[in-house]
Symmetry: C2
Subunit: 142 residues, 2 copies
């Protein structure tokens, strides 16, 4: 069982933006920081912008910043916005074709487990993940 | 986020064996029932046998049966035996190379969420998933 790399990157991009709060971050510096391809990173930032976690500032000295305070960015909401699905078992999908689906109790147990998983993320916000510049290998804040 | 198809099949094979308790099931009938390839099914049953959930009876009229009573087969134990890993994020893996790992609190939150997920499965056993022959599209038990 894994979260997608997409969600992993999303959380790390938000952590970097949170550390830089009040300043714009760029795709280039974030890609270099995490050693992620620029193209992949842009897909993630686009999704984060679309869901109102990041705000894009256009122009020559443009970049990205958090669209809300870190405490207003729930980690459960981020994951729900970045995971393509939570179709844990065949019967979770609308096109699932397991013959047991109508009577099976597994779907309910899986749903309960998934809710417990997300509830933990819902108890945390980006504010719980704030690090210092040194943790990113950068010079300490002045 | 998904469980592997391997775990999904494992649970369904055990459900079928539980319904047939006291009789041997065969790879052939189980593959046909769920419309799964015989080769893939054998990988799953081998893993379930290796972990003591199924018992293999050799010979011409051989087959597979539950190695323990359904109530003694915890669903959390099954998933732990069938999922290749629970490396939810980069830093979950021993070879993860995220530069934030030493100070990051995300790993702890992910670990807590995963524990909550597995705890739900641990509260249930195969006995909670027993169905009737009709639910498998088979003739009712005499």
């Amino acid at each position: 069982m894994r979260l997608t790399q997409f969600s992993d990157f999303a959380l790390r991009i938000l952590m970097y933006a949170a550390m830089r709060e009040g300043r714009l971050i760029t795709i280039e510096e974030t890609a270099a920081l995490y050693d992620i391809s620029r193209a992949h990173l842009m897909k993630v930032t686009n999704q984060l912008t679309r869901h109102g976690f990041l705000r894009s500032v256009r122009g020559r000295s443009g970049g990205l910043m958090l669209a809300r305070a870190p405490a207003q960015i729930g980690l459960g909401d981020v994951i729900r916005a970045t995971e393509p699905d939570f179709a844990m078992v065949e019967c979770s999908s609308p096109d699932g074709r397991c013959l047991l689906t109508p009577r099976c109790r597994l779907k309910g147990i899986v749903g309960e487990a998934l809710a417990a998983f997300l509830a933990v993320f819902d108890r945390h916000s980006l504010a719980d993940l704030i690090l210092r510049p040194e943790d990113f290998g950068l010079a300490p804040a002045a």
